[in-house]
């Protein structure tokens, strides 16, 4: 690694972070808002965008009447409570080695959390990639190694590639518990939800590199303006401006601001890999309920690695603890729909903080509550 490389990279990023380029975009945003003469709600679907917006302080420089709402694009946050409790219960199965991404360790279950189970002696391991989980399975042939697969289309291809490898290597002790979800179906559900007031979508960048802008068209084209957007502050400002342009012109199209990474078609290799191993399912989302076709489960022919088929989930669920009172007061579901801002939750910053989260939106660094707590809570003190 040389400084050349870092200079080059930082130069490119610097151009996008160059706050000096923001004023003309902001002026244009203001002009369009004046033309529209009404409040506008734009939803940033993806948690990475929420963090970028909070970090750059973009909310305060946008004209009044233009609101950015956080959406259901943080995979940890949208995981249903029953799934969380089920996995905690599965961790207690004899011989089980549960592997998962770090954030899931801290997500509160109704009466436990994976990190508490680990402390109590269950074999639960944090991995950085499903491939690490596969390695655990190879090293411990006598154990059941289950990967708790949480994520959107961004992470699914990697899990599919891992499954492919497991089959090649004939590893019969590697299992995947898939709570994977897909973004376009969730957006469709959101716009049809009662009281939805979303005038435009800032669409995720990473997910879109895989599925391409075309994947949103059946759902959004002609209904709600949408913009696939990069992660730098200037990307986001430009996307806001382009979405307002659509509103002014009365269009509702799926467009790409993030052209340096995203195409209309996406990544066909990754899509094929996903389709080989997964098929659509009808999962329950936190706050959004059951959304048909918005999940991904293992195809039947790969049942040898499907933890959902290996265990009698109905029996496991019958053992689950009753919902807990504090958690019932968590408004994550409303936050994920853009119906509430994190600060509107009674528990925000009081009973619920990143050190002691009540809901998953406060656990994941990409969760809306965590982002508001981390970057914007000083404004909620009345300061």
């Amino acid at each position: 690694m040389t400084e050349d490389l870092s200079e080059d990279l930082s130069q490119k990023l610097r151009q996008l972070r160059d706050a000096g380029l923001a004023p003309p975009v902001l002026d244009s945003i203001k002009r369009r808002m004046r033309k529209l003469e009404r409040p506008v709600n734009l939803m940033e679907v993806c948690g990475t965008h929420t963090v970028a917006i909070s970090r750059a302080g973009l909310r305060q420089i946008l004209p009044p009447g233009l609101r950015l709402l956080s959406g259901p694009g943080c995979p940890v946050c949208v995981t249903d409570q029953q799934d969380i409790d089920t996995v905690i219960e599965l961790a207690k199965e004899p011989g089980m080695v549960l592997t998962t991404f770090g954030d899931m360790m801290r997500v509160p279950g109704s009466d436990s959390a994976l990190q508490s189970e680990k402390a109590a002696g269950r074999d639960i391991r944090v991995v950085y990639s499903p491939l690490d989980a596969l390695k655990v399975a190879r090293d411990l042939p006598d154990r059941t190694v289950m990967f708790y697969a949480v994520g959107f289309e961004t992470t699914v291809p990697m899990v599919a590639a891992t499954l492919e490898m497991a089959e090649k290597q004939g590893l019969s002790n590697f299992w995947v518990f898939s709570v994977h979800k897909t973004i376009p179906a969730a957006l469709e559900a959101l716009i049809h939800m009662e009281g939805a007031r979303i005038d435009g979508f800032i669409l995720p960048g990473h997910v879109s590199t895989i599925i391409g802008a075309n994947a949103y068209k059946p759902v959004l084209q002609g209904k709600v303006p949408a913009m696939v957007t990069g992660f730098e502050p200037l990307d986001i400002l430009r996307a806001v401006d382009l979405l307002l342009a659509q509103l002014v012109e009365g269009r509702a199209e799926v467009e790409i601001e993030y052209t340096r990474a995203v195409t209309e078609e996406g990544n066909p290799t990754a899509q094929q890999l996903m389709a080989e191993f997964f098929e659509p399912s009808d999962p329950r989302w936190r706050g959004l309920g059951i959304i048909p076709g918005s999940g991904l489960m293992l195809r039947e022919r790969h049942f040898r690695h499907d933890a959902c088929r290996r265990y009698d989930l109905a029996a496991v669920r019958s053992r689950l603890p009753a919902p807990n009172k504090l958690m019932a007061a968590c408004s994550c579901g409303e936050v994920l729909k853009g119906a509430l801002l994190p600060g509107d939750c009674k528990l925000f910053g009081r009973a619920c903080t990143p050190a002691q989260p009540v809901g998953p939106c406060m656990v994941s660094s990409e969760g809306a509550c965590a982002a508001y707590y981390m970057y914007e809570r000083h404004r909620q003190q009345g300061g």
């Binding site: 690694m1 400084e3 870092s6 200079e7 930082s10 302080g57 973009l58 420089i61 990143p354 000083h378």
Partner: protein, 334 residues
């Protein structure tokens, strides 16, 4: 001397004696140390005494811009200096891993001697222990420092007031990145050097130039953590201007590549000065004339709003909170 440190060098016998004579006395000898008694004895100067102690476990022990010895002197000298004290005496405790080449130890002790000379302090007492191979990592150092605070001086983390201005004496993030890069074996084309330096001279000049409320060295946890501590202690809010905070291009680029935020990276030669607006300008000018303060800048102010919290005015004109980090960003950097 043997080429490597043996357990016997810490045993109190002949080998220990040789090590003391040939390494420690040779480099660090002064009137008080050479008294050779169980405790150093010296006269007390009028004023308030300030005392501080710090352990150093940095790995690697040599890095660009410094080494564990220089760090052990500067770190403790700076802790005294930011308390408003004139640093006078240090103790030096070493825990050495068996097998350390004596040549390396000598290099470290020579560096300690050079740093003491520069800081105008004396090592007046010390101790050495040797532990079996694998029970320590080359060399750990503890230094304790004594200094005198003149009667007239009163600074402290609890003294910031709304309206006060926040100053820093130059580019942030260099020490943390220098050590981290060394450890990861990354050679930046423009090397990033640790800023490790004794700040007592600069601080004395700043205090001479005008009234100062708080002084603190933003070491572990960086500028963001230090200002959070001060805002809590003083019950004030602090607002920083992102554009005003000095960061070198090399540190900015490297941080971006490695995913660090310079605001949270450790410094070993930086001091945050918080001063009332009436004196801040004069202090800034004086700091800029000092070799360790050429890039000094006013980077923010204390406010009555959001007491205990630090906010950053971003380059985009928005504002966000600059929180304390949970956990450690980089281990063993000092």
């Amino acid at each position: 001397m043997e080429p490597r440190i043996l357990l016997a060098h810490g045993g109190g016998g002949g080998a220990s004696h040789r090590l003391i004579q040939e390494v420690f006395y040779r480099y660090l000898g002064n009137d008080i140390l050479l008294q050779g008694n169980d405790a150093a004895v010296f006269d007390v100067v009028p004023g308030k005494l300030a005392m501080t102690t710090d352990c150093f476990v940095v790995q690697p022990i040599f890095f660009r811009g410094g080494d564990i010895g220089k760090l052990a002197v500067c770190g403790t000298v700076n802790d005294l200096a930011v308390s408003g004290a004139r640093p006078l005496y240090l103790s030096l405790g070493l825990i050495i891993e068996e097998g350390l080449p004596v040549e390396l130890l000598e290099k470290v002790v020579a560096s300690i001697a050079a740093a003491c000379l520069e800081a105008g302090v004396k090592i007046v007492t010390g101790d050495t222990k040797v532990v079996e191979k694998g029970k320590a990592d080359q060399l750990f150092i503890n230094t304790t420092g004594l200094g005198i605070i003149p009667e007239s001086v009163r600074v402290g983390g609890e003294m910031a007031r709304p309206g006060d201005l926040v100053l820093i004496n130059g580019n942030i993030g260099e020490h943390g990145l220098a050590v981290m890069s060394e450890r990861a074996g990354i050679n930046w084309e423009t090397p990033i050097l640790s800023d490790c330096a004794a700040l007592h001279g600069l601080i004395a000049e700043a205090m001479e130039a005008g009234a100062v409320h708080c002084l603190r060295d933003p070491t572990r946890g960086g500028l963001a953590t230090t200002l959070n501590e001060i805002s809590r202690q003083s019950h004030v809010g602090i607002i920083l201007e992102e554009n005003a905070i000095p960061v070198s291009g090399a540190v900015r680029g490297a941080s971006e590549m490695l995913g660090f935020d310079p605001l949270y990276l450790a410094n070993e030669g930086k001091v945050v000065v918080i001063a009332p607006p009436a004196s801040a300008k004069a202090i800034l000018e004086r700091m800029r004339r000092h070799p360790l303060g050429k890039d000094s800048a006013i980077i923010g102010e204390a406010v009555a709003e959001h007491p205990g919290l630090v906010a950053l005015k971003t380059a985009f004109g928005g504002e966000r909170l600059l929180d304390m980090l949970e956990g450690e960003m980089l281990p063993r950097i000092c």
